[in-house]
């Protein structure tokens, strides 16, 4: 094919512009409507902000009209989409309400929370909320209770590894051909169905109670004179870990069990045919194949663990001397008992950043390790 023949055709095709089915006037109308909606929203926000700041002496009694303005803006945005983009705009309408909802319910509160964390806002203060820059952050740096709680969280989080090992063991047990397997699956899952508050009272404050608790009595029978589970700092921490583990190991177990059941039978059979013993089968076949599930289970468990508060609040209130305090239970006290909204929010924000950063690093490291593991295997 010669260039002379094909070139004109290519040029024609590239330069062909199909006629726009949406007239310019309709586009302008859409833009106008959106501009009007934006103006209303900006004006409502500005008026209310200035009124609340005391700059102007007129405004709304509360922020509700600004929410209505946001809804109105959402409607104008949707209308503009349809008017300006036609069919594509209609398609956008399917997503837009969800996006606006997420912005209103997630993005805005997060940004507002970020702002609050840089304010001095004690609900009992006559002055109300005041911007105080990095003061809250500085206070946090010197707050022995917060650092103590963070240190405790490291221990609590490390306990997940032990929980994982136990959960894996139980999952393997329930995966094997044992008697009454279905019965045990249900029984092992029961603790997960209990509210941590119920566990706190039933186990922590009743069964482990030093005078009449059956676990304490059993410990006494074994020869422990004063079975005080929450007096020594390390023992108290361990007791909290044990209660929390008892509740949540079934969660990891059920995820790992699902992973085990999804393993391809052919691979297992091939391993058997190749003469692998159970130990080799586990480390060379089962464990690598269930690694993605394991990582998911451990991650979810860590996220649950980082929120640990209810058992601590109910059983030890963070004691003895802060030995069992978690970040969440400390923030709970700062908020509920001390109405210190600004500082409490900063603590929560810093905790969020720490969690996001550490989980990202962990995922990265795990990803590399898994790739390494895969290469080693291959």
């Amino acid at each position: 094919m010669s260039m002379e023949k094909t070139a004109p055709l290519d040029i024609d095709f590239d330069e062909y512009v199909p006629p726009d089915p949406i007239p310019q006037s309709r586009k302008r109308l859409g833009l106008l409507i959106l501009a009007f909606g934006s103006l209303v929203l900006a004006a409502a926000f500005l008026v209310q902000a200035l009124y609340r700041a005391g700059t102007i002496d007129f405004g709304f009694a509360n922020w509700r009209p600004v929410v209505y303005a946001y809804l109105f803006w959402g409607i104008t945005l949707g209308t503009a989409q349809v008017l300006r983009r036609g069919e594509a705009g209609v398609r956008a309408l399917f997503v837009l309400p969800a996006v606006l909802f997420v912005v209103a319910m997630v993005v805005f509160p997060l940004l507002f929370g970020l702002y609050i964390s840089f304010t001095d806002w004690n609900l009992s203060s006559l002055q109300g909320r005041r911007f105080n820059g990095l003061d809250n952050f500085r206070q946090m740096l010197g707050d022995a209770f917060y650092w103590n709680a963070l240190k405790n969280m490291v221990w609590y989080t490390l306990a997940v590894l032990v929980e994982y090992a136990i959960a894996f063991g139980m999952a393997l047990l329930l995966h094997s051909q044992i008697r009454a397997r279905k019965f045990f699956r249900v029984v092992f899952l029961l603790p997960l169905m209990l509210s941590p508050v119920a566990v706190s009272w039933m186990v922590g404050k009743s069964m482990m109670e030093i005078r009449f608790g059956p676990i304490a009595n059993f410990a006494r029978w074994l020869g422990w004179e004063n079975p005080a589970f929450f007096t020594d700092p390390w023992l108290a921490r361990f007791s909290i870990m044990a209660m929390d583990a008892w509740t949540f190991i079934p969660l990891m177990m059920i995820m790992l069990l699902a992973g085990l059941q999804a393993l391809p039978k052919e691979v297992m059979e091939a391993a058997r045919v190749d003469g692998a013993n159970p130990w080799q089968t586990f480390w060379k076949v089962i464990f690598p194949l269930t690694l993605p599930v394991s990582i998911t289970a451990v991650l979810i468990r860590i996220i649950f663990k980082l929120k640990l508060a209810d058992v601590i609040i109910n059983v030890t209130a963070g004691g003895p001397g802060g030995a069992t305090d978690s970040v969440t239970s400390f923030i709970f006290r700062v908020y509920r008992d001390r109405s210190n909204v600004g500082y409490g929010t900063l603590l929560a924000m810093v905790y969020l950043v720490l969690i996001v950063v550490s989980l990202t690093i962990m995922l990265n490291v795990l990803g590399r390790w898994m790739r390494g593991y895969g290469q080693e295997e291959s």
């Binding site: 609900l123 203060s125 030093i210 004063n226 005080a228 001397g321 802060g322 509920r336 001390r338």
Partner: protein, 556 residues
């Protein structure tokens, strides 16, 4: 009346006939006397009949009162309303009432009491029911976000700083003051409690204080008495009346045997945090050391808001706890006040505990209590010497040990919000409803039946009325005397009613937990940390306003 007191009555199974015997004739008369206007004028003659009549509703041994009973009581106690409000005068008025729903009491009773009031006056009430745990946050948020959406509130006196101090409450009109007979209040509930800057805001519906509960069998035990003498202790083996003796007895009892069997223990401390409320228990130990009769303040300096929690008096109280912690039951560091009262003292562990009136009233009704027949009550112990903050020295008073009962939490009251002030009709309606709930006769019924409220008027301590209602005279006399003597004590330690008072208590609990766990070198070092944290809270809330409000709350 608290539920447990009522349950005790139930447990005693006093017969309806026995109760009615003395009251029936008078009650019949009262029925006829409660209708019509002019009730205030003939109150003196009719009141006794009315009081006897309402005590019959529903009658001891007739099961828990129902909504119909509350309405009936409300109807019978409507004289004050009839005397001050025309029938249908509040037609079209809508009021909102925010209160608690603890144990299905509080607001539930108020609804019943106010139904006849609504029918008579024509006003309508909407209700906001809150659980105790949600109450503080809801109130603080309403205040902070300027969304006070209620006209009447049931509130504890410690929150007066947050509400009255911010001008959110309506001042009590004189006609209400006359109607509810405020002179009948026990002394500590009179001004300055319920007042700010000389203005009265509160209608009391409850009273609170810590009293001292002890095991009589310990102090009547001959073996222990002999051991006490043998060890060369000063004075006879008897119930301690000072904290110095409490310490001595607690140390002495270590290693001895409880009359019920098992190891004996003395005083029971509650070192574990309890949502801020645990601080009251250290305060009960400290009040006799720190509250000087010549000084109304004992927690802060009124002129500077400088905390006194690290002065020698408070440090001595903290040190007292540290000194006897190892003489208390194992795991005591993990005991909160709920543990000391209900799992230990009432269950037969330990011989002395400070608490609200609940310990006494549960002693013979709770299934887990085994001390019902061996329990005695008194005001909190005193101290041989008291810290004079002005001179900075310990002082021995000429008239003996210093006693300063701790009026912990002060009790519930009903307040009208300032938002009704702009509408005279609505304001009168709100105050009329509040006055109805705080009426003298209606309060007697609340003291005698489950209501969530303790006695708080002098007239509630009329022993024959309680005996007639079915209580054993010696028991109730001893129990009520410990409360009445605390309430009316001239050196009663009243907590500061300033904004954020529970914030101070909460941070103190955190530091105390560390002190009791031995994480500070000394009690003084730990107390200094509490003082530092308190200074930060004061600065954050606003020192000048706190000073002003603290002074107002002290009436100085």
């Amino acid at each position: 009346m608290k539920v447990h007191i009522y349950k005790r009555l139930m447990a005693m199974q006093a017969s309806r006939r026995g109760i009615l015997k003395g009251a029936a004739g008078a009650g019949a008369l009262a029925l006829g006397a409660t209708s019509g206007l002019g009730a205030l004028a003939r109150r003196a003659s009719a009141q006794g009949n009315l009081r006897a009549e309402i005590l019959k509703i529903p009658g001891v041994g007739m099961g828990s009162p129902t909504d119909a009973d509350w309405q009936r009581v409300g109807e019978l106690c409507l004289d004050g309303t009839r005397a001050t409000v025309e029938e249908g005068e509040f037609e079209g008025v809508q009021l909102t009432f925010m209160g608690l729903n603890n144990q299905n009491l509080h607001n539930f009773l108020f609804r019943g009491f106010l139904k006849p009031w609504e029918a008579y006056t024509g006003a309508r009430i909407e209700w906001i029911d809150l659980a105790q745990a949600d109450y503080n946050a809801r109130l603080q948020q309403s205040i902070a976000t300027e969304t006070v959406d209620f006209d009447i509130i049931e509130m504890g006196a410690p929150f007066e700083g947050d509400v009255c101090g911010k001008g959110l409450a309506s001042e009590m009109p004189d006609w209400v003051r006359d109607l509810i007979e405020m002179d009948d209040y026990v002394d500590y509930l009179k001004a300055p409690v319920g007042t700010w800057d000389g203005k009265t805001y509160r209608i009391s519906v409850d009273g609170d204080c810590h009293n001292f509960n002890f095991r009589t069998d310990y102090f009547e035990n001959e073996e222990l008495a002999q051991a006490w003498r043998d060890e060369g202790h000063e004075g006879e083996w008897a119930v301690p009346t000072t904290w110095q003796k409490v310490q001595e007895v607690t140390k002495f009892l270590k290693g001895k045997n409880d009359p019920f069997g098992g190891p004996a223990y003395g005083y029971l401390d509650a070192p574990k945090s309890w949502g801020g409320f645990g601080f009251y228990f250290l305060a009960s130990r400290a009040s006799a050391y720190a509250k000087h009769p010549d000084d109304p303040a004992w927690l802060f300096d009124p002129d500077t808001m400088k905390p006194r929690v690290n002065n020698e008096a408070w440090v001595r109280a903290i040190q007292d706890v540290l000194d006897v912690l190892d003489a208390q039951p194992p795991d005591q560091i993990n005991a909160d006040p709920n543990t000391t009262a209900f799992q230990q003292f009432l269950a037969g562990t330990g011989s002395m505990v400070s608490w609200w009136g609940d310990v006494g009233s549960n002693a013979r009704t709770s299934d887990s209590s085994i001390v019902g027949d061996v329990i005695g009550f008194s005001v909190l112990p005193g101290s041989d010497d008291v810290w004079n903050h002005a001179s900075g020295e310990w002082e021995t008073l000429p008239d003996g040990p210093n006693v300063a009962p701790n009026m912990a939490y002060i009790g519930w009251g009903v307040y009208v919000m300032a938002r009704v002030d702009s509408d005279e009709k609505k304001k009168k309606a709100a105050w009329s409803a509040a006055a109805h709930l705080g009426g003298k006769d209606l309060s007697l019924w609340c003291a005698a039946y489950p209501s969530g409220f303790q006695p708080y008027r002098k007239s509630h301590f009329n022993i024959p009325e309680w005996v007639e209602a079915g209580y054993e005279e010696a028991f109730i006399e001893n129990y009520l005397a410990s409360e009445a003597d605390s309430y009316n004590h001239p050196n009663a330690a009243i907590e500061p009613r300033i904004p954020g008072i529970f914030q101070y208590y909460s941070v103190a609990e955190d530091e105390l937990a560390k002190i009791f766990a031995g994480q500070y070198a000394s009690a003084q070092e730990g107390a200094d940390k509490i003082a530092e944290a308190w200074e930060r809270i004061t600065d954050q809330i606003g020192r000048e306003s706190q000073i002003e409000l603290y002074k107002a709350s002290l009436g100085v």
